[in-house]
């Protein structure tokens, strides 16, 4: 009788512990998803902030790939402004401009969020639709749409 009772008790306890573990795992998964969403929020906001700043103050840089900003870009934007665009402060943290490729269709923007608050550094890729320049009415390309298309962690 006693071995039977012990066996049945063990089965009951193990079963309920498994159920509890599953519910804890679901909670952890929920927390991870929220962290991912918050990272997307920060990246999407940084992308919009950067593009709005380009649109507002330095639309001439929209036509130039990032490596050329410090060469040809200096003809239309001061070095300090370019440095401010390369590294900025957005909603919830700082970000870095990793790549801008207007020669692609659609153009590609790559931003990196700094690590912080227990979160790793993350990169976000955006596609940016540009309407080509039509001088003299529109001497520079104009942004018509932006989408965050991917998010990935960055190895420390």
């Amino acid at each position: 009788m006693l071995p039977l009772a012990m066996g049945a008790s063990l089965v009951l306890l193990l079963g309920s512990l498994s159920a509890h573990t599953v519910s804890l795992q679901a909670r952890m998964q929920g927390i991870r998803e929220q962290q991912q969403r918050r990272a997307e929020d920060r990246l999407a906001s940084a992308g919009q902030q950067l593009l709005a700043e380009l649109h507002r103050s330095h639309p001439c840089l929209l036509a130039l790939p990032l490596p050329q900003w410090d060469v040809q870009g200096l003809a239309c934007a001061p070095a300090q402004a370019i440095a401010g665009l390369r590294q900025g402060q957005g909603l919830g943290g700082s970000y870095r401009l990793v790549a801008w490729r207007p020669e692609l269709q659609p153009a590609e923007l790559l931003l990196e969020l700094a690590a912080g608050g227990g979160q790793p550094a993350r990169q976000g890729a955006f596609t940016v639709q540009l309407a080509p320049a039509q001088p003299p009415a529109q001497p520079q390309p104009q942004i018509t749409d932006v989408r965050l298309v991917g998010l990935r962690g960055v190895a420390p």
């Binding site: 909670r27 919009q48 649109h55 507002r56 001439c60």
Partner: protein, 134 residues
């Protein structure tokens, strides 16, 4: 089978069954709470997506971006919001974007995103912007 063995076995089984029942109840309650929280979080996601959809639906204008921002702010303020969510809207420090914060009951931090009409081509290039040829 002795009486002591029977009593010990019964007590052991009863205690295990009671503990198991409590654990199942805890797990069940946690699963239900998590499900409800996930639903609220999904609703927050919908509210943010709706803001972006609205922004894409704005007619492009050659006008000032602050005008498009004011229009966006007014439109977002009257968007429906699911129960358990609270919305806060403010104009970004640069004045040409809207920061939308959606607080979800039970979450320490709100979701927050910046929406800039300029990033969607919904307003014109201001006069005096660095529009020179590089």
């Amino acid at each position: 089978m002795s009486l002591i063995e029977l009593l010990t076995g019964s007590v052991l089984f009863t205690a295990a069954a009671g503990s198991s029942l409590q654990l199942w109840a805890l797990a069940g309650a946690a699963a239900v709470a998590e499900q409800r929280q996930q639903e609220r979080l999904e609703q927050a996601e919908v509210a943010l997506a709706r803001a972006e959809t609205y922004l894409r639906g704005l007619a492009p204008s050659a006008g000032d971006c602050t005008t498009a921002t004011a229009q966006l702010l007014q439109a977002l303020a009257v968007q429906p919001l699911a129960p358990g969510l609270a919305r806060q809207l403010e104009v970004s420090p640069s004045g040409d974007g809207v920061v939308l914060r959606v607080a979800v009951a039970g979450e320490a931090e709100p979701r927050q995103r910046l929406y800039a009409p300029a990033a969607f081509g919904r307003c014109g290039i201001p006069q005096g912007g660095g529009g020179g040829t590089p």
